[in-house]
Amino acid sequence: MKGRIQLSTRLGSMDLKLEAGFSDEIIIVSGENGAGKTTLLRCLAGLENVEGQITFSGKVWLDSSAGFVLPSKNREIGCLWTDTALLPWLGVEKNIILGSAFEDSVWLEELAELLEITDLMQRKPVMLSTGEAQRVALARAIYRKPSALLLDEPFSAQAPAIRQRLRDVLKSIQTRLMIPVLMVSHDLEDAENLADQHWRMREGRLLKEIVDTGKNRMKQA
């Protein structure tokens, strides 16, 4: 296991109690609204003050019993939330490379092509549609080659025609970077086509199910 999560905490009205492990794989997290899916990703990103332990790649991210919390900026993660948080005074390209320790124009071009945003690179965020903004934010999360991707409904604003292409792109990027991807999704097709693991959540608890996803069937064949 590359990462381990053990949380036992109360956040507002939610009682979050779960234990799970993950490797370099795609994990789809689903469940009803208010089940704690986004909260789980926020805990992993270090954006919530919680009780428990999280370790990743041999590093401690959180150990509340020792009073240790690794700041978000040191976790080397790539995140996409429902609020894309693109900075309006920066162009698309500058938004994508924000915070990256390197500049790699070849990788940037390739990523832009994969996510179908090449024509948008000189625009300002205010000139983007919701779907385009979401793809730009996804590019920003991936560009810095993070050690894990945390994606909250990354395709929710995409037209059905482009969703399958984006799934393929995400799959190929995950394979190439060899990183875990934890992705909240309500779309059953995401679980069917992408998931190595499918975690279902209810009222802050993880109902870990071995789901017979299409990807698992392909692996077994």
Binding site: D83, W89, R144
Partner: protein
């Protein structure tokens, strides 16, 4: 008249420049941090808004008097008196205009969407990078408003500068004191002209403040 206007202008520019440097960390503390004594700090920053300028001037004068600690340090460093000098007026103006610099910046920093700050954290930006690449560009409207208000407020100071600086021609006689003296000496045309210039400065500065505020609101509301 020109001389007093130039002194006011110089005082306003120096005060505004120094205030921006002092006010930014204070505004950051008050916008984002919880700490013991926070309320006391907020009250101290806001005090000049409600304190009569003469009272503030009186305390500043006591603070910088030649036999005070500040006065003695100043004297040993620069071999001059801080009281009844241009530097003394700058010192007093910094205190007097502090809330006009801190509060707009504090509000602008507080108005930055939480999602932008969280994005900065998860993208690995350090505090310095977050300050210069996210917070300051996002709060630039507040910084400009702080500068405009500090400048206009310092240009129009009367009670504090009179208490601390006196009215030494060519050194501490600012435009508002010169205006008072023109009226006292019944020099109507000079008083009229100086009042009009001060009114115009205030009008332009406030117009700038409202324009910036409108633009800042539309930026924070953008995607």
């Amino acid at each position: 008249m020109i001389e007093s206007l130039l002194i006011s202008l110089q005082l306003a520019l120096v005060t505004t420049a120094i205030l921006l440097l002092i006010a930014l960390p204070l505004a950051y503390l008050l916008a984002f941090k919880s700490f013991r004594g926070r309320t006391v700090l907020e009250v101290i920053v806001a005090l000049p808004l409600v304190l009569p300028p003469t009272v503030l001037g009186y305390y500043v004068l006591l603070m910088i008097a030649p036999d005070s600690a500040v006065g003695r340090i100043w004297d040993s460093l620069f071999d001059s008196s801080l009281a009844f000098s241009f530097s003394g007026m700058v010192f007093a103006s910094l205190i007097y205009s502090l809330p006009f610099a801190v509060q707009p910046m504090q509000q602008a920093l507080r108005a930055i969407p939480k999602s932008w700050l969280e994005m900065a954290a998860t993208q690995g930006l350090s505090l310095k990078q977050t300050l210069f690449q996210v917070m300051l560009p996002a709060a630039r409207g507040g910084v400009l408003v702080a500068a405009a208000l500090s400048f206009a407020h310092t240009m129009g100071e009367f009670g504090v500068v009179l208490m601390v600086g006196g009215s030494i021609p060519g050194e501490t006689r600012v435009a508002s004191i010169a205006l008072f003296e023109f009226v006292e000496m019944q020099q109507a045309s000079e008083a009229w002209m100086l009042a009009l210039i001060l009114l115009a400065v205030s009008f332009v500065m406030l117009s700038l403040v409202y324009t910036i505020n409108r633009k800042s609101l539309s930026m924070v509301g953008g995607r």
